[in-house]
Amino acid sequence: MPQTLHNASSNWLMDMIKRSSNSAVEESIVARASRNSPCVLCKGARFLCGKTRCPIMVKVNYYLKSVPLMASEDISGVSPPSVFIGRIGYPYVYVGPLVPPVHEDTSLYDLPEQWFGRSIDEIVGFRSLLIRGKHRVHVEKFEQAGKIAEKTRELALAENSVDLELNLTKKPRGFLFMDDDVQPFGPSAPIRDMRVGNTRFDSRIEKAYYDTDLRATEAVLELYSRGVMVTKIQRAFSVGAFGIEKNRRLVPTRWSITAVDDIISKALMEQVKTFPEISEYRVYESVYLDNIFEVLMIPDAWSYESMEAWYPGTVWNPHGNSTLIFSDWEGNEGRTTYAQVGGCYYAARLAVCEQLVKERRQATVIVLREARPGYIMPVGVWQVRENVRNAMRQKPRLFKSLNEALQFISARFEIPLRRWILQSELLKKALFQKKISDFFGKTSVS
């Protein structure tokens, strides 16, 4: 049961906030922790949760820096551009822009393609400046929902940063929003009115937007093949800018990210399946934000598995004593159900398919990920997509046998190889399943 720490006299967070100069901040902050959470004992100092840094301290730090800039109902700034479509209450959802109270080129703030290599502090720093304006509309009736919905969509299609003024019904409030799928953003408030400066649409996206006979899937693939960044496609997808006119609707940001990853990688997979198999075992790797990726490619027909191991004390295993492994897979014919492990399954699948298509090869691909205690808070699915894309840019290590490749991976990971194998459908298949072609030409049997 959540407990409000707001009034607790010995509240360490409040002490910290009081030390900061601005008293207006105090009203706008609400801290919640579950009753048996170690946070109350730890006070951000002893790392009882096992993480290497306290995520609350990191968040509060940036919150304190950004809140003085937001102590008003009128916000003026430059949107990267960025929008957010909530999912709570679907089909009645909150839509609106994300805008930081700064006047400069903010395009980086919503372009995960350019974030790889930046520290968690830097990303949380600029993301926490993004104020979210909220306006509730029905996902299928947003065309008639009036000016705010219309302006939000316009913003999502813009090519560059856009001047924006928000008139909110109250001062922005709330924590830095963190989610495994969606990149973080700052405080929010309902919109009373909004004014958007001159916007120029990305001409490629504009074309798909005005084509009301083009199916959404085709629009996504067309834009991707023309080199439009996944983030931009996803942003337009979320505001219902694609598809046959009567089918257009808003898509919550979180769903739109996975939908776009899925649509593109599905199309790439079909190409991959027509290419010759790779001729050796390969291991690609990348480390970023204390997430270690080892991507194993096996010379065999296309199939795919994504596995992630969470150390005790990491985001999705905060109180456990042992490492948790989650996995999901698909065979050559693909899958029809949503992968248990979530959005990162599809983001990593996109990254590996891109590489195979580029090389015109096919393989069985297993993406192994260890999330270590330095990964103190989730930053969004982009981390997986860009981390695996980075792995794909590296020269792979080549091996003649599966065992050699597995030995190499085993040395990189803390988790014993046996645990990975036990959990992995495709590793078991590669190790234990014989091929019918092994039996051509043999004549005898014991």
Binding site: K273, D300, A301, W302, S303, G331, N332, T364, E425, K429, F432, Q433, K434, K435, I436, S437, D438, F439, F440, G441, K442, T443, S444, V445, S446
Partner: protein, 251 residues
Amino acid sequence: MFKLKVSDAKLLRDMVTAISILVDEATFKIEPEGLKLRAMDPSRVAMIDFEWPKTVFEEYVCEAPSKMCINISELLRLLKRAGKDEAVELSLDEKTGRLQIKITGKYSRNFNMPTLEASEEEVPTPKITFNVKAKATTQGLSQAIEDAQLVSDHVRIEADTEKLVLNATGDLMGATITLQKGSDALLDLEVKENSKATFSLSYLAEIIKAASATSDIATLEFSTDMPIKIDFQQTKEGKLTFFLAPRIESE
């Protein structure tokens, strides 16, 4: 010139469904004596060996041997439009390289679809000496496989002179399914040497489910840690045989 006609669309549709379990693009051999296909699935774990002599067809014309490659799932989509007692005629338009599909019954419709580049790969027959030969009903087999699927994704098949036993062990649960010689499900059992081998249930289940539509009786042949051969006896002439490679778990 190649043309064939079947009076009952279901016959063709069931066979194409069985083929679609393993292959998406199938290269058929068209010979004066009949139609043949031998192919492996993309990961080369299983293989299908299919033959329909010309006597199966109401009409069969082949002037010179040739090969034809078609997308099986696309063909299946078209064949699904045909009702039970409707006739289907397939013919190859040599000028355009397209396959014509004519379905006639209450009314008639003509579809056409492209043919693809034929595979040059010659798939041999696996050379295996089998120590166990079991004749079972496809219904009995399907049931046994479904039982095993409840607990695991692979199954060990064991035979001695008296019985065929399916053993499945999952993470939490286990199952043992026994088919006694001479029972309703197991019609015959010949064992030269007690044998056991483990197979993927997803392959087994899909193969048996699809092939059951074409056949009531199947003959299983296997040996210890060797592929299993499942021959589905056809009501008309013709052959539908699957081979599936074993799983060998070495710790």
